[in-house]
C-alpha cells in the first residue's frame, strides 16, 4: 500500500494520459513484475541510505563536539565506507543474480508457437509460425496469449535496434547477425505500447509498436484470421482502390496476401485494417490517417523509407484508403 502511495506521488504527472500505456511502473508481464519489486526494494533501501548519508554529513557539520569526534576517525570510515556497503552490496548482488536466474524458470510454452520480430528502419516486422509450421507476417503489433510464456526471437535487418515493451519486460537488443530470444509472459490482458530503445538513426523516435495480450481463445481467433489471405474489397471504391494499389506499384514493397502484391520491402498489409496504428505507432488507424500517410508520410515521419505519394487525386486517395481500411 505504502508502495503504491509513493508510486502515485512519484508518477502522478506520468499518469496524465495512459493511451496505450508504456511504463515500467505498471507491470503486466512476469519479468516486468520481478523487476518492479526489485526497483522498489532498491529505491526504498537507497532512499534510506541517502537520507542517512545526508544526515551524517549534517551532523559532521553541525553536531556537538563528541559526536563529531566520533565521526572523525578511520574506524568510522572503515565501518560506514567499507563494512556497511560490503554487506549491503553482497546482499544486493545475490538478490540481483537470483532475480536474473529467475528468468531460467520460465521455459516457453510447448505449443510450437514461434514469434520472430525483426527490427527494420524504422518499423517492426513480426513473423508468426504456428505448431504446423504455417507462417505469416504482420507488422508493428505483437499479439500474445495471456499467462503463457512465449519466446520471441529478435533479429535486425540493418542496424542495432532494441525491443522494449516496458510493461512486459526489460529491453533486449536486436543485433545484425545475431538472434536474441526474449521470453514474454503477459500476466493481464490488455494493450500496451513499446518502442525502440537503441538509437537507430533518423526516425528512431518514431519506432513504436503495440503489444496486445489476449485470452487464449481470442488469441487463437486472431491467429486464424491473421493467417488467412486478405478479404476481397467490399465496395466499389475499395475495388477501385485495389486496382490502383496494384497499378501504382505499391505491391513492389508491400504484400497483400491473396493478390499480386508480394513485395517484402515494407510491412505486410494483408490485415492492415485490423491493426492499431499506421507507420509504427505514428497515427491512429483510420481512413483519414491512411490518406494523410500516403501523401505526407515524409513530414509525419521524416526519413522513413516510403516515398511520399503525391500523385493521387483526392478521389483516388479515397479509393485507396477505403481499400486498405477494409483489409481487416
Amino acid at each position: 500500500m505504502m508502495r503504491r502511495l509513493i508510486l502515485l506521488l512519484l508518477i502522478l504527472p506520468a499518469l496524465g494520459g495512459c493511451a496505450g500505456s508504456q511504463s515500467a511502473f505498471m507491470p503486466r508481464g512476469a519479468e516486468a513484475e520481478r523487476i518492479d519489486t526489485l526497483f522498489w526494494v532498491m529505491t526504498i533501501g537507497g532512499g534510506i541510505i541517502f537520507v542517512g548519508v545526508i544526515a551524517i554529513t549534517a551532523v559532521a557539520m553541525l553536531g556537538g563536539a563528541r559526536v563529531r569526534r566520533a565521526l572523525s576517525s578511520e574506524p568510522f570510515i572503515n565501518g560506514a565506507g567499507i563494512a556497511f556497503p560490503s554487506v549491503v552490496l553482497t546482499v544486493l548482488l545475490v538478490y540481483g543474480l537470483l532475480i536474473l536466474g529467475a528468468g531460467a524458470r520460465t521455459p516457453p510454452a510447448g505449443d510450437g508457437l514461434r514469434i520472430a520480430v525483426s527490427g527494420e528502419l524504422w518499423w517492426w516486422r513480426v513473423t508468426y509460425t504456428d505448431a504446423e509450421g504455417n507462417t505469416f507476417d504482420t507488422a508493428n503489433e505483437l499479439h500474445l496469449p495471456v499467462g503463457e510464456p512465449v519466446a520471441v526471437e529478435l533479429t535486425s535487418a540493418d542496424v542495432i535496434h532494441s525491443f522494449w515493451a516496458p510493461n512486459l519486460a526489460g529491453k533486449l537488443d536486436m543485433i545484425p547477425g545475431r538472434t536474441n530470444t526474449l521470453t514474454l509472459t503477459a500476466t493481464q490482458p490488455g494493450v500496451t505500447r513499446g518502442q525502440c530503445a537503441e538509437y537507430c538513426g533518423g526516425a528512431h523516435a518514431f519506432m513504436s509498436f503495440h503489444v496486445v495480450a489476449q485470452p487464449r481463445e481470442e488469441f487463437d481467433a486472431w491467429m486464424r484470421q491473421e493467417a488467412g489471405p486478405a478479404v476481397p474489397p467490399a465496395s466499389e471504391a475499395a475495388e477501385r482502390g485495389a486496382a490502383l494499389f496494384l497499378s501504382a506499384g505499391c505491391g513492389a514493397c508491400h504484400a497483400v496476401r491473396g493478390t499480386e502484391a508480394t513485395g517484402t520491402i515494407g510491412p505486410d498489409l494483408t490485415h492492415i485494417g485490423a491493426r492499431r496504428s499506421i507507420g509504427a505507432g505514428m497515427l491512429p488507424n483510420d481512413a483519414a490517417a491512411m490518406r494523410q500517410w500516403i501523401v505526407d508520410n515524409q513530414h509525419i515521419k521524416p526519413e522513413n523509407k516510403m516515398p511520399a505519394y503525391e500523385i493521387f487525386t483526392e478521389a483516388e486517395l479515397d479509393d485507396l484508403s477505403a481499400y486498405l481500411e477494409g483489409l481487416k
Binding site: A248, C253, G263, I265, P307, A308
Partner: protein, 371 residues
Amino acid sequence: MAERERDSSDRSGYLRRLGEAVLVVLGVLLLGGTLFIWSGVYNIGASRDHFGIVTWLIAQLRDQSVNASAQGVDVPDLSDPGLAMLGAEHYRSGCAACHGVPGEPLNPVFTSMLPAPPDLYHAASDYEAAELFTIIHHGLKYTGMPAWPAIERADEVWPVVAFLLKVHREGPQVYDATLAEGQVDEPGTGRIAFENCVRCHGDDETDLIDDLVPRLEGQSAAYLARALTEYRDGTRPSGMMQPIAHEMSDDEIAELAEYYAGLTALAPASDLQGEDVEAGRQIFMNGVPETGVPACASCHMGANPQFPLLAGQPAAYLMGQLQLWRNGIRAETGYGAIMATVAQRLTPEQAQAVSLYLSWLPLPRDGGDGP
C-alpha cells in the same frame, strides 16, 4: 634590450602614419566616385564603345573569372558524334538567334549589341572545353549572354560544347551538314512543329540523334503529355526541353503525345547477349529487397499509363536520368519524388546493369507480353 624597444616603437609609428595616409586616399576616392556618378557625366549608351583600357580590363576580368570557374570541371568524353549533333540542334534553337550561323555575318540587330555576340566559329580557339562549358553553363554578366535555363542540368551543356569544338575542328560547314538531315526551320524563331521533335527524338522511321535522348514512339500518351507539361511548368528541369515546351499549348501537347503514342517503336539495335543483362533483369523484375529497391517492373510495365515504359530506351539516357534522380534534380514532381527515393538506393553498378538490360529489352508492341 632598450635599443630593441626603440626599434619597435619606430616601426609602429611608421605603421600608424601609413594607416592615416591610406585612410585619406580612400576618402578622396569615395568622394570622387560619388561625385562622378551623381553628375551623370558617364555615357551608358551602347552606341559608343568603352575606352580601350576599360575593354581590356573587362576582358581580363572575364577571362580570369572563366578560367577560375573552369578549374575543377571534369571534361567528359566528347567524341561521340551524336553529341555534337544534339548540340547543333540546341544551337539552332537557343544560340543561333544572336550568334548566327557559324562563319556567316550576323544579323545587324545583334551586331549593335555591346559587346556584339561573337561568331562562335572561333570560340574554341579562345577557350578550352572546360571554359566553354563554364561560359555556356553560367553565362556572362553585362554581355547579354544568358545562363543555362536549367542551371542544375550541367549535363545538358556538354553537347553544345562538343558542337562548338567540332565546328572549330572541321569548319563552319559542319553546321549545315548536321542540319541537312532534318527539316530546316528559321533559326530560333517561330512555332515548333512536330517535325522538329523528330530531328532529335526520331520516329518510327528515323533513329535517335544521340543516346542521351529518349525514344518517344510507342510511349504512353499520358506520360508524354505529363512530361511536356512538367517541362513547361519548370518542375522538370531541362535547358533544352523547357524552352521548347514553353512555346506549346495544351492542345499541341495532347496532339503531339497522341501522335507519338500511336507510332510503332523501332527495335533497339543492341549487340548484348542475354547473360550480359542478367544482373539488370534481376533488378528490373525482382528489385533488391535487402537494400529496399523495389522491382522496376511493378510500375514500368505499362499497367499504369502515368509511368513511362522503359524497354528499349538507350542505356546512356537511362543512366543519365537515374543520375539526375540520385542527385535530387528530378524530385520536384510527385512521380519524380517517388523515383528519386528508389534511385538513391541503387548503387552506380546496379543503375548501369538495369539500364543495359532495358536498352536491350524489346519494347512491348501493342500491349504485347513483356520479358
